[in-house]
């Protein structure tokens, strides 16, 4: 099997006296979808935020393409090829869809002092990418604030897919989506995975996770409960693991760390 694109070892993250992560190890390989599962407050979002440069880990190491790495900002992580759909989407309601889509990575044309934001290109790409995801926008200059929750989520996903050259991180991307858009997103995950991108997929929906996941890691109270490969675990087992965090902490020893 190929080496991981990004590998995180024993990540700890403390916020003041809150220990959000207490030693989580995780890796993603090119062309796989690694699902990150767990109860509310387990630390999933905090964990992927250390992966995408929002947080710097309190302890632990990050290895990117074989080299030790510490991202000082999301911009650095993006430049390395990591794109993220955050749970809160990171969209600006007052700005247009196209301006949100290219926020931080604006296409430019022209030269020298006349280098400028290529608005036409940005609009055209946004419309095309949104159409691929099954949403017909009224116009790329529409403000994001006027979109529905699911449409907004779709813009965030389309944006990450467009820019996620090596690693694509999706934090509960389907929570607000309709049936057609959800299957679109799952199909998109499958497509980018086949193109060699490593996907990190957070979901509370076991069916969605089982549909696309190659490996499954369950977090509980800031710690890894274990990692299972596809086929080694049934949907029921996964469901139990995710749901019964508290009892399962005791059950863990009898499972022998196989899950």
């Amino acid at each position: 099997m190929s080496d991981p694109i990004i590998q995180l070892d024993n990540i700890e993250k403390h916020f003041g006296n809150v220990i959000a992560l207490n030693g989580v190890s995780f890796d993603v390989r090119a062309g796989e979808c690694h699902c990150l599962l767990g109860d509310n407050g387990a630390g999933k979002s905090t964990f992927i935020k250390t992966m995408s440069g929002v947080h710097q880990p309190t302890r632990g190491s990050i290895t990117f393409e074989g080299k030790p790495m510490s991202f000082g900002s999301t911009r650095e992580a993006m430049e390395a090829g990591i794109a993220t759909v955050f749970q809160d989407l990171a969209m600006i309601p007052l700005m247009s869809v196209a301006r949100n889509f290219f926020m931080g990575r604006e296409p430019v044309k022209g030269w020298g002092p006349f280098r400028r934001f290529d608005v036409d290109h940005a609009n055209a790409v946004t419309m095309a990418e949104m159409k691929k995801m099954g949403i017909n926008l009224r116009g790329a200059d529409q403000a994001v604030g006027t979109l529905s929750g699911g449409e907004r989520q779709t813009v965030a996903i389309a944006r990450a897919v467009h820019f996620g050259a090596k690693v694509l991180i999706l934090d509960e991307p389907t929570s607000a989506l309709g049936v057609r858009q959800t299957s679109n997103v799952l199909a998109t995950i499958d497509k980018v995975r086949k193109a060699g991108v490593g996907v990190v997929f957070i979901s509370h929906n076991v069916r969605h996770a089982m549909a696309v996941g190659d490996r499954f890691t369950v977090l509980n109270r800031g710690k890894t409960l274990g990692t299972a490969k596809r086929g080694e675990i049934t949907a029921e087992q996964l469901q139990d693991l995710m749901a019964g965090g508290q009892e399962l902490a005791q059950l863990e020893s009898t499972l022998g760390g196989t899950v």
């Binding site: 995408s52 929002v54 900002s73 999301t74 911009r75 993006m78 993220t84 955050f86 809160d88 989407l89 990171a90 969209m91 600006i92 309601p93 007052l94 700005m95 196209a98 301006r99 949100n100 290219f102 926020m103 931080g104 990575r105 604006e106 430019v108 280098r115 400028r116 934001f117 608005v119 036409d120 290109h121 609009n123 055209a124 419309m127 095309a128 159409k131 017909n136 926008l137 009224r138 116009g139 790329a140 200059d141 403000a143 604030g145 006027t146």
Partner: protein
């Protein structure tokens, strides 16, 4: 390019949007409507000489001076921050500039960059304090308002052995090649030619009654155009809107929010210094009261121009027209029979109207219900 901006596929769930309602979504619309209203008001009430060439230049000159501050304040407000210290910065930068040319005897080519750089450095300090502490810029720069004003007083007394006015600037810069760029009138030759050919009114000795276009008006136009270009047509403009709209979301999307905000603070302070340089050269002296309360006027002009107090929305063109409204009213009242002091009443009313109007616009844009 297959699908452009507007030409999306016909959708049965969209009503075609009338032109007026589309215009309503432009941030600067309120200010343009305001200019039209104020013009109509003075066309009716004021002496007809207000709208002759000399009358127009007469009110555009204070408009331009305020506008140089207001455009910068608008950019900063769109970026989600305030700077209440710009009025005091005019006095402070005026003192620095005066000290450079009078006390240190420096030529303008050194004194001007030095003054601008010094101001920008203070702007940077403002920005750093705001970002480090996470305190509202409103309160941090309110402290700056007092400190800079106080420093100007203390500094001027120290420089002049007890006076709060520094004189001798006109003499110091009179022969400098750069002086015409910052003070006086431009296009004098053109105006004399036009007068000689009968296109302009002349004094009995043949000189035109209007000697030229005051240079601050040209700076004002240039800054408005540049700021608009940056806001709407460059990546940096997108970053300003994003940083002001939601700093956290912007940073998570890869916008260098800190750099954007600090740069905006620096630009704002430098614009205050630019105004100080022009005013000081023009007056030939500087004193500690220079720029008094200009921070409020600049913010009001920016708000009339459509800037939201919460950031992330507004326009430089709006601030441009907001400043023109200001200049028209300040000067226009002298052409009418009204008491000059109506100005303050007008100012407050205009601000209130603008905020109510902007709030409504924001709801339309975001589709808030």
């Amino acid at each position: 390019m297959s699908t452009g901006a507007g030409n999306s596929i016909a959708d049965e769930r969209i009503k075609t949007e009338p032109l007026l309602s589309r215009l309503m979504k432009r941030p600067e619309l309120g200010a343009i409507a305001g200019v039209i209203l104020v013009t109509l008001f003075f066309l009716i009430t004021a002496d007809s000489s207000m709208f002759t060439l000399s009358g127009i230049l007469n009110f555009l000159s204070p408009a331009a001076q305020l506008g140089i501050l207001a455009i910068a304040a608008a950019l900063l407000m769109i970026g989600g921050e305030f700077d209440l210290s710009i009025g005091s910065m005019v006095a402070f930068a005026g003192m620095i500039f005066g000290a450079c040319v009078v006390n240190a005897d420096l030529p303008l080519i050194v004194a001007i960059p030095l003054t601008l750089a010094f101001a920008a450095l203070i702007g940077m300090a403002n920005g750093l304090v705001v970002l480090r502490t996470g305190l509202p810029s409103f309160i941090v720069t309110l402290a700056g308002l007092f400190m800079l004003r106080g420093l100007s007083l203390v500094g001027l007394k120290w420089l002049t052995d007890g006076s709060t006015q520094l004189r001798g600037i006109r003499e110091a810069v009179a022969d400098d090649l750069l002086t015409p760029l910052f003070a006086g009138d431009a296009f004098g030759g053109l105006f004399r030619w036009a007068a000689a050919n009968g296109y302009l009114d002349t004094f009995p000795n043949g000189d035109p009654t209007v000697p030229g276009v005051p240079v601050e008006i040209l700076w004002f136009l240039g800054l408005a155009a540049l700021a608009t270009w940056v806001l709407l047509r460059t990546p940096a403009g997108n970053w300003i809107f994003a940083a002001g709209g939601d700093a956290n979301a912007a940073a998570n999307s890869g916008v260098p929010v800190r750099r954007v905000k600090i740069t905006l603070f620096m630009v704002t302070a430098a614009c205050a210094a630019l105004l100080a340089i022009m005013q000081v050269i023009d007056a030939g002296s500087t004193d500690a009261r220079r720029g008094f309360q200009k921070e409020f006027e600049a913010i009001i002009a920016a708000v009339i121009g459509g800037c939201l107090l919460t950031g992330g929305y507004g326009s430089a063109i709006g601030a441009f027209f907001g400043s023109i409204i200001f200049g028209m009213v300040v000067i226009g009242l002298t052409y009418t029979g009204f008491d000059q002091d109506w100005f303050q009443v007008f100012l407050g009313a205009m601000l209130l109207l603008a905020v109510i109007f902007n709030n409504a616009i924001r709801k339309r844009v975001t589709g808030e219900r």
